[in-house]
């Protein structure tokens, strides 16, 4: 298990990750919680995508809004 905010072992809220919880309030996940790899992140006005190339998929959402919440264009 890797911290989505800092990429070290553990997770936001654990001992040594106190600042990570606050960081994720106004930032996207930056590291894959499965493998610790840095994520490809794209921020949009009403959401974001955070993708791990190794784990091949959209990172599990740590906050309520992600790309899936986007309104369809057409």
């Amino acid at each position: 298990m890797w911290c989505a905010a800092c990429g070290r072992t553990g997770s936001a809220g654990d001992d040594g990750h106190e600042r990570c919880t606050a960081a994720l309030e106004l930032d996207t996940p930056r590291f894959c919680t499965r493998c610790g790899r840095r994520l490809d992140v794209q921020v949009y006005p009403t959401g974001f995508s955070a993708t791990c190339r190794r784990c091949d998929g959209v990172h599990p959402r740590d906050r309520g809004r992600s790309m899936e919440d986007h309104d369809p264009t057409d």
């Binding site: 960081a23 309030e25 106004l26 930032d27 996207t28 930056r30 840095r38 994520l39 490809d40 992140v41 794209q42 921020v43 949009y44 006005p45 009403t46 959401g47 974001f48 906050r63 809004r65 986007h70 309104d71 369809p72 264009t73």
Partner: protein, 364 residues
């Protein structure tokens, strides 16, 4: 217009006299802005930046109030008198994230620093259109596409021109662009393509800028603003406060912007990003942020003063105080690489404050 040759002049004795008498300072500022409808002097601006905002003044109702409260109240009345009751909402998207060769000390997109931002390719047309449509649905009437570059190369220029056309075709939003330093030919092409407004922030006062970036100069930024204006686009230029500048340098930045008369002035608050030289900086307190807002409004009475990045961190629970302290624009939703408040929360806040939103009725 030639590049500004000097820092706006500061008469130390005159500023000190105004700072020592905040009641007179605010009265003379009010007389200039509301009675004579004139902009204020450089000395008044410096005094507004340097005055003790926690000092108390007698209020009209017999209750004492702080200098800051009086400044915010005046700034609100000035913005209503010089602009309108309406607040304009804008959303932004990063069209190209990271990998920027510039070394701006506040920026997590600089390739010079080891930050958490991983460079990303240009957004596709579909992604930009989706971002624009979702922002429009939330109430934004302006959409700014921002690129982390020194300036656009031909491939990027073509991308900008194509995206401007498609966003205009598919939405009702005004398109603004921010793509760094321009040539005259590029400025002309952007104008011809329908780019209404070009953003290029001065970022910091001229005297402070060398502490922020070394790969380009403040004067280069100014020259691009010249090109933008000369080619018929509206100038959008502001800066970031809380980077270690003095209050006097905040006034200097506002005065330098005033010389240029930007249509819009985005006011950002430093959000210290890990890995940047300013990553460990202490954010402004809410009262410091409110002081900066009122100062910028009083120096730039005509401008669309827009609360931008970092407002969640600097203002915290006092977002509404900013809207009642001189602000008439908001960036809603997320920023380029970080998250913002939910747009619905900002729209609700505006409704609660009974502040009309530009263009929102057209959308409902």
């Amino acid at each position: 217009m030639p590049v500004a040759a000097t820092t706006p002049e500061r008469n130390a004795a005159a500023v000190a006299a105004l700072v020592a008498d905040p009641e007179k300072l605010l009265r003379t500022v009010e007389e200039a802005l509301l009675d004579r409808r004139e902009t204020i002097s450089a000395d008044q601006a410096y005094a507004l930046a340097e005055v003790d905002v926690d000092a108390t003044l007698p209020g009209d109702d017999g209750e004492d109030r702080t200098v800051l409260d009086a400044m915010l109240d005046l700034a609100h009345r000035v913005r209503v008198a010089w602009t309108s009751e309406e607040v304009a909402l804008e959303s932004i998207v990063s069209g190209k994230t990271g990998g920027c060769p510039e070394d701006c000390a506040f920026c997590s997109q600089s390739s010079v620093f080891e930050t958490l931002v991983k460079p990303q390719p240009l957004l596709t047309e579909a992604e930009v259109l989706q971002a624009a449509a979702s922002a429009e649905a939330e109430g934004a009437t302006e959409f700014c596409i921002v690129y982390a570059v020194r300036g656009p190369d031909e491939r990027l220029m073509q991308n900008i021109l194509d995206l401007t056309a498609v966003v205009h075709e598919k939405t009702r939003m005004h398109v603004a662009v921010s793509a760094g330093i321009l040539t005259a030919e590029q400025a002309q092409r952007l104008h011809d393509a329908g780019v209404v407004k070009y953003n290029h922030n001065l970022e910091a006062a001229r005297s402070f800028f060398p502490s922020i970036a070394s790969t380009h100069t403040w004067e280069e930024r100014w020259e691009t603003l010249d090109l933008v204006r000369d080619h018929g686009m509206e100038v959008c230029s502001g800066g970031i406060v809380g980077m270690g500048e003095t209050p006097t340098q905040r006034a200097e930045l506002a005065l330098e912007l005033a010389e240029f008369r930007p249509t819009e002035t985005p006011l950002n608050f430093l959000n210290p990003r890990p890995g940047t030289p300013l990553g460990d900086a202490e954010p402004l307190t809410p009262r410091e942020a409110l002081h900066a807002i009122a100062l910028f409004r009083l120096v730039l009475p005509w401008t669309l003063l827009r609360l931008a990045g970092g407002r969640e961190i600097a203002l915290q629970d006092l977002q509404s105080a900013g809207l009642l302290g001189g602000v008439n624009g908001l960036i809603i939703g997320n920023y380029l690489t970080t998250l913002g408040r939910a747009p619905q929360d900002d729209v609700k806040m505006l409704r609660d404050l009974d502040i009309p939103v530009r263009g929102l009725q057209d959308l409902l």
